[in-house]
């Protein structure tokens, strides 16, 4: 059982002592073929690392239908949201074969993370990458599926006006996550980001563009969407405290979605170098940013899954009506 962590590709870059820390809090699990490992809507307990067997992730949908999401093979992990966010389980996970592996409890893991232990810091960053890649894969399914009805598509945004604005400490602290930032941390944020006010309906970046920066919403709202010919399929609305372009910033790929302002917004542009610094060695500001990033990564994946689930469910519902 102890070699399970050695076989996890996701954690391959962790030094041996960091893996030892994780091994110290992990405990074995076993689930029989056909049995549920956890159920959609259950409280989050922790992360499962599969050593042997095969697991299947399925999501419940309206009408009590289910939709198969993916399969988890040995060396892969499932239940990673539990270490990034305290939301309920987002899918059913069932054993297709008798399965065993290691369970990493969220509480013990978060205690290690709170102490900035290398095992937890390295693992959490690896999980960020995993969640970002899974969100990208879901978005690619949405793009390929073309299930959106014409009625839900919107006009493509145009070029619009953007003006620099002075960022104030009050503005920063009005966001709950930054409410307790001291003056030094606020000053650091002002120094590392360009703030601008962008009018409603302005295109910010295109799908397929490079991930050299991300936009933090201070005020207003940014729409993330898929361009369908001359129209846009809305996938997400990012309000204050959220990032536009986060998936690409984390996984280093191109932007999976186009972004535009849904309302006149105050946005902070943060370069990928600054972001990488926060991930490598988070200071007080970086920690506050990353706490929000972890929650948003989970939220973005939930949004993408719900969008896909909604499209599939409506398609089935309306197929029955035809």
């Amino acid at each position: 059982m102890d070699d399970v962590l050695e076989r996890v590709t996701l954690l391959a870059d962790l030094p041996p002592e960091a893996r030892d820390e994780l091994r110290g809090i992990a405990r074995p699990f076993a689930v029989d073929r056909g049995a549920l490992l956890f159920r959609q809507g259950d409280p989050p307990g922790g992360l499962y690392v599969l050593g042997d067997g095969l697991l299947e992730i399925a999501s419940r949908m309206p009408g009590d239908d289910t939709s198969m999401v993916s399969r988890i093979a040995p060396g892969e992990v499932v239940g990673e949201f539990a270490l990034l966010d305290n939301g309920l389980r987002s899918a059913n996970v069932r054993a297709v074969e008798d399965s065993t592996g290691l369970f990493v409890p969220a509480r013990a893991f978060l205690a290690l993370l709170g102490d900035a232990r290398p095992g937890a810091v390295g693992a959490i960053d690896a999980l960020r990458g995993l969640v970002a890649r899974r969100t990208r894969a879901t978005l690619e399914r949405i793009v390929a599926g073309e299930l959106a009805e014409p009625s839900e598509l919107r006009a493509v945004p145009a070029a619009g006006r953007a003006e620099p604005v002075d960022l104030t400490y009050d503005m920063i602290r009005s966001l709950g996550r930054f409410a307790r930032l001291d003056d030094a941390a606020c000053a650091a944020l002002c120094a590392c980001a360009e703030a601008s006010q962008v009018e409603r309906g302005t295109a910010l970046f295109a799908a397929g563009s490079s991930s050299d920066s991300a936009l933090f919403v201070m005020r207003g709202a940014v729409r993330g969407g898929i361009v369908r010919g001359t129209r846009v399929e809305q996938i997400a609305i990012h309000g204050p405290g959220e990032w536009a372009g986060l998936v690409a910033m984390i996984d280093g790929g191109v932007q999976p979605l186009a972004a535009s302002t849904a309302e006149t917004s105050v946005l902070l542009k943060v370069s990928s170098d600054i972001f990488a610094g926060w991930r490598r060695a988070p200071d007080r500001l970086g920690q506050a940013v990353l706490n929000g990033v972890d929650r948003q990564l989970v939220k973005d994946q939930r949004r993408a899954n719900r969008h896909l689930g909604r499209a599939i469910a409506l398609d089935r519902f309306n197929a029955g009506a035809a």
């Binding site: 009408g63 809305q234 309302e263």
Partner: protein, 304 residues
């Protein structure tokens, strides 16, 4: 802030929607999942019962009593089976400036008009701009406004944008009227310099069609000096299927989406387990319409 519930489909005993689920509408009076406030300022519903006299007209009940303690609602809910329902519990700020009276209880439904509407949200600065809405209202609807809520004005504005508000409108006609009402409010807010985030989550139902609107004016534009909280309570959720009831110890619609004909839309799921519920996207309307012998559901972008 308030909580809303609506249903369209095979007739269901109201008790099974209003009381039975573990997060039923009336349990949300004191224990909503997505709103950390009590909803004490009244309960109202319009219920279309196909077995009743003039089934196209809903049975309407509105009270300023705390819904959870209203024994009349409980007794009625155990007798009435409706194929369409629009129900609302009203939540208001905890201070003495708020007017608690029957005229302010949702859903709103003017005489001889088939359409009813309930609202979750609050329009910032509404008192300053409301009389500028009068030119956009039909005189009979301007006169019919009896309460002091922004919601009743939104309702009157939407009805006034319909060519014939006294008959069942098509979903397209309703959507056009809703877009026009939202556009008018947006224009007047701009004229008055109102740019604070204001939610207009609305559900319209006439017993035949149901339209659920999730729309926020100036989304995310809060005061800089004001600490921003969660906006989860401003979401809108729906689920659909064929047979609503207690299945495997869970209140849910079963039978698969493909054979489904019933839909529940609410400001938050009626069960602690959200698994079979989906969010209505922001800046969008969910339309449930009659399509031959079944129903059809669509998402429409609201670009206003």
């Amino acid at each position: 802030m308030c909580r809303i519930l609506s249903y369209l489909g095979t007739p269901v005993l109201l008790d099974h929607l209003l009381y039975a689920p573990d997060s039923s509408l009336l349990s949300q009076v004191i224990n909503a999942q997505m709103l950390d406030m009590l909803n004490l300022a009244g309960f109202g519903m319009a219920a279309w019962d196909p077995a009743s006299h003039e089934p196209e007209s809903p049975f309407v009940y509105r009270t300023t009593q705390v819904g959870l303690f209203d024994r009349n609602v409980k007794l009625l809910a155990s007798k009435v089976a409706a194929h369409a329902l629009l129900a609302h519990i009203r939540g208001v700020a905890y201070n003495s400036t708020v007017q608690i009276n029957e005229q302010n209880v949702h859903p709103f439904k003017f005489d001889r008009v088939p359409l009813a509407m309930a609202h979750n949200g609050d329009l910032a600065g509404f008192r300053e701009m409301r009389f500028d809405l009068v030119p956009h209202l039909r005189p009979e609807f301007a006169r019919a406004i009896q309460g002091s809520t922004d919601s009743e004005w939104i309702y009157a504005l939407t009805l006034s944008a319909l060519d014939d508000p006294y008959r069942i409108a098509t979903p397209e006609e309703l959507l056009a009227a809703i877009r026009k009402a939202i556009g008018t409010i947006r224009e007047l807010r701009a004229q008055h310099g109102i740019a604070r985030s204001s939610s207009a989550n609305l559900i319209f139902c006439d017993g035949v069609n149901l339209i659920a609107v999730r729309y926020t004016f100036d989304f995310g534009r809060f005061e800089h000096r004001q600490l921003q909280g969660t906006t989860e309570f401003l979401s809108m959720w729906y689920t659909f299927g064929r047979d609503y009831g207690l299945h495997d110890d869970e209140w849910k619609l079963i039978g698969g989406a493909g054979s489904g004909d019933s839909m529940i839309v609410a400001s938050e799921p009626l069960t602690r387990d959200f698994s079979t519920w989906i969010e209505v996207p922001e800046y969008s309307a969910l339309v449930a319409r009659r399509d031959g012998t079944r129903r059809r559901a669509e998402i429409h972008a609201l670009e206003v």
